[in-house]
């Protein structure tokens, strides 16, 4: 029981950065913009957050700096992909390469430093619930932030006018424009939200998960998040499931190794990726539901009035 609780709690921790970045990308893609620059934005968030927290001594300043760095990177992308209507794939890949390089350059001086990261805060009463209390309500502030972000995104998409606008623009920007909706503005906001969330996810890695900076510390989570959004068929409730599934599988392989499981570590390290994708593929069987949630204009540049 103790082991199970620990494993589940660690699952939530491991799934959180993925959840944060994927929620941002989900909103971005729902507007019809595919931003492949997640990895680059996360790394910039991680290094900016770590540097700001180290020099100011305040974790909150670190988080704010990380979010700002993510937004700044995403606006760079938005300028290329939305304003100039450049190819979104190329612009996104460029952003990842740029972010990876720039974060390594900026962070060179911080390698080896360490800070006291976010610590766990037990929420009174809720954390006393058996098992679940320890798993969900004895975590750090950023994990709670991810819960809130999930709820906000899910409600926004389902119940708000803003969510309706976003879905409409993602489906058909020409028709949206003909209806007088501000396509470019909404896409900018969606891309910026995605950038902010990627920055936050980066901050989670460098300020909470492992409170230090190493080059390329995101280890492909940005790419997994991109796959997660697709296999979750652009629905937040599946996204959170997928993120935690990935978290669970990545913890499992550590646990299995700890228990003396005799198998190649490389094979075990593949586990989270394989399990997550298999599970989500199985879940996305219903073509009508999938079609209703897929942003049709995804990846297509849009120029108003052409």
């Amino acid at each position: 029981m103790e082991l199970l609780t620990n494993v589940l709690a660690a699952t939530v921790v491991a799934g959180t950065p993925l959840l944060l970045v994927a929620l941002g990308e989900l909103i971005c893609e729902r507007s019809g913009v595919l931003n492949l620059g997640q990895e680059g934005m996360m790394l910039m968030g991680a290094v900016a957050g770590f540097a700001a927290a180290l020099s100011s001594g305040s974790l909150l300043v670190g988080v704010v700096a990380a979010v700002m760095a993510g937004i700044a990177m995403s606006l760079l992308f938005a300028f290329m992909a939305v304003t100039l209507a450049a190819n979104q794939y190329a612009a996104g890949l460029a952003l990842t390469i740029f972010g990876t390089g720039l974060s390594a350059f900026l962070g060179a001086g911080f390698v080896g430093s360490s800070i006291d990261g976010f610590s766990r805060v037990a929420i009174p009463l809720l954390s006393d619930i058996p098992v679940l209390g320890r798993v969900f309500f004895n975590q750090d502030a950023l994990v709670y932030t991810s819960f809130i972000a999930f709820a906000v995104v899910a409600l926004f998409l389902r119940n708000s006018r803003g969510g309706l606008l976003l879905r409409a623009i993602g489906e058909d920007p020409e028709a949206a424009n003909a209806n007088g909706l501000k396509v470019l503005l909404v896409r900018y906001l969606a891309v910026a939200f995605g950038g902010g969330m990627a920055g936050l996810a980066g901050a989670y890695l460098s300020l909470a998960y492992t409170p230090l900076w190493t080059e390329n510390m995101t280890a492909g989570r940005g790419w997994i998040a991109l796959a997660l959004v697709v296999f979750a068929t652009w629905r937040p409730e599946r996204l959170i499931l997928g993120a935690y599934l990935f978290g669970a599988a990545s913890i499992l392989h550590l646990v299995l190794q700890g228990l003396g499981w005799k198998s190649s570590t490389e094979l075990l390290a593949m586990l989270p990726y394989v399990v997550t994708i298999l599970m989500l593929v199985l879940l996305s069987w219903n073509p009508v539901r999938t079609r209703l949630n897929t942003p049709l204009s995804l990846g297509q540049p849009y120029r108003p009035g052409s």
Binding site: A168, D172, A176, A178, L296
Partner: protein
């Protein structure tokens, strides 16, 4: 009195000029629409109708001229402003979101405070749709609606915003005859209540029965104003096309020969959840006849064409050509047996836009001795291409011009000519005169009839009922992937065809069987 006069004129355009690079789309157009008037705007493709509508609706700004709205000169900066002024527009291609519901679609074009209360909005939608006889369920997804129902959503959306000028762009081209009747009833009610309607069309009989006045455009200018009910359709057509173009084809009666093609039990399941599946299609074609397939777009026309051409492989049924089952053959093998296809999209499927006309000829006519031992005989290709251009009156600078540089009508003449010169036994043509000028349409009709008289069987898929009635000796209709029985054109009343287009034909079959 003076005030009264100005109030009665809802919209006045004075000397509107709009120039695009290389083309003066509107060249000094004047137009006046009174309150409660149903005003037709007529003209061929490229006459400047769409540009003029875009000017009124604020999509583009005129280079010169004045727009006067209810007596005040205005500048319409964008569609949102036009809607606030009371101008509503229903485009030919609807601007609806398929994955949203009717109510959500309408909510998107309303101010936020009016759209917030969903049950109130649903009630308003129900009120408006009942009042004007346009039944709608606000909770349904657009993707589940028929084209006619989608048009109702567009119109209801305009009416909810208290529109006083409703612009309809070719509204009847997607409707069955019965739906047209009910649309006209709605429009007449609206007009009685004082709403002005600008009705864009090229179907003259409809304009004559519905509209109070008409303005005819030709080459960017007004070529005439008239009261359509008082002059004949051919007089209006003259105004549209000018003096030197033939406006109709004389079609001689067909003399069908022996059976050529027999399609039985053809079925195909679409993988797209919103796509159309073909269901138990039965069809027979004789040599020397044209058989027409009517139907509202998206009811399986494209799928039927693809199943006949071999682009999709049917799940069930057979396609027999002179007794040989060709269902299992690939498109090129079918082509060798004399099956020619003219698809709906000229650019992209009928021809490659960036390739020259000569190279485009090679795409389907390579079997005509244009390729020998795997090598292209470019001399013969050019010769073949020039032959098509000469025989079918394609207006272009030569066989080296790219397909994309030709007008729709000329490219279509080229594509039909390319197929016709290969002496096909069976030609399947989809919407061959869609978006084509009157002159080219006549030329295309003549080529089809000539091909028929030479003994080919032609399957003509079209939404244009006039065209079908004119050319075909037997007609049927597709609805939701099912094909109605085929009846001789002379015995098929348009009402009956309309019912078939709406899918009511099992009962008629039974009735025939009983009788």
């Amino acid at each position: 009195m003076g005030l009264c006069m100005t109030a009665a004129i809802r919209l006045k355009l004075e000397n509107i000029v709009k120039e695009y690079p290389g083309c003066r789309a509107n060249d000094g157009i004047d137009l006046t629409v009174e309150a409660g008037e149903i005003h037709a705007l007529l003209g061929e493709n490229g006459a400047g109708k769409s540009t003029l509508m875009k000017v009124i609706y604020g999509v583009v700004q005129p280079d010169e001229g004045r727009v006067v709205w209810n007596g005040h000169a205005v500048q319409v900066d964008n569609p949102a402003q036009a809607r606030r002024m009371g101008i509503g527009m229903v485009f030919q291609h609807f601007s609806l979101f398929e994955t949203l519901t009717v109510a959500e679609n309408i909510a998107l074009s309303l101010p936020p405070d009016e759209a917030r209360n969903r049950s109130q909005l649903n009630q308003r939608i129900n009120e408006v749709s009942e009042r004007y006889g346009m039944e709608l369920d606000p909770r349904r997804y657009i993707s589940t609606l028929s084209v006619g129902e989608r048009q109702r959503v567009e119109i209801v959306r305009c009416l909810i915003q208290e529109t006083t000028l409703l612009i309809l762009d070719e509204p009847t081209s997607v409707l069955t005859p019965q739906e047209v009747t009910s649309l006209f009833a709605t429009l007449r009610t609206l007009s009685k209540e004082g709403c002005s309607i600008l009705f864009i069309s090229h179907k003259l009989e409809e304009v004559r029965s519905l509209c109070h006045t008409a303005t005819v455009l030709r080459q960017g200018r007004v070529s005439g104003d008239c009261q359509p009910a008082e002059i004949s359709a051919s007089e209006i057509a003259r105004l549209m096309v000018g003096d030197d173009t033939p406006i109709s084809t004389r079609v001689t009666a067909a003399e069908p020969g022996e059976p050529l093609m027999e399609v039985s039990g053809l079925g195909w399941k679409s993988k797209d959840p919103f796509g159309t599946s073909l269901r138990n299609v039965n069809l027979d074609l004789h040599k020397g006849e044209i058989v027409g397939i009517a139907g509202v777009a998206g009811n399986g026309q494209d799928e039927l064409l693809k199943a006949l051409s071999g682009e999709i492989r049917a799940d069930a049924g057979t396609i027999c050509l002179s007794g040989q089952n060709i269902e299992t053959l690939f498109p090129d093998q079918r082509r060798k047996l004399g099956v020619a296809i003219v698809p709906e999209e000229r650019l992209g499927r009928g021809a490659v836009p960036d390739m020259s006309l000569a190279d485009n000829a090679l795409l389907t006519a390579s079997g005509q001795g244009l390729v020998e031992r795997g090598l292209i005989r470019s001399g013969r290709v050019r010769e073949f291409s020039r032959e098509v251009i000469r025989r079918f009156g394609v207006r272009c600078t030569g066989e080296n011009s790219t397909a994309g540089s030709l007008s729709g009508g000329n490219l279509q003449k080229y594509i039909i000519g390319r197929e016709a010169l290969q002496n096909p036994r069976l030609l399947v043509a989809s919407h061959p005169t869609w978006g084509v000028d009157v002159g080219s349409a006549v030329a295309i009709h003549e080529s089809l009839v000539k091909l028929r008289d030479e003994g080919a069987a032609i399957l003509l898929i079209s939404e244009d009922l006039d065209e079908l009635y004119q050319l075909c000796n037997r007609l049927g209709a597709l609805c939701d992937g099912r094909l109605s029985p085929l009846a001789p054109t002379s015995e098929l009343h348009i009402e009956q065809l309309g019912q078939w287009m709406a899918g009511e034909f099992e009962s008629t079959e039974v009735a025939h069987a009983v009788a």
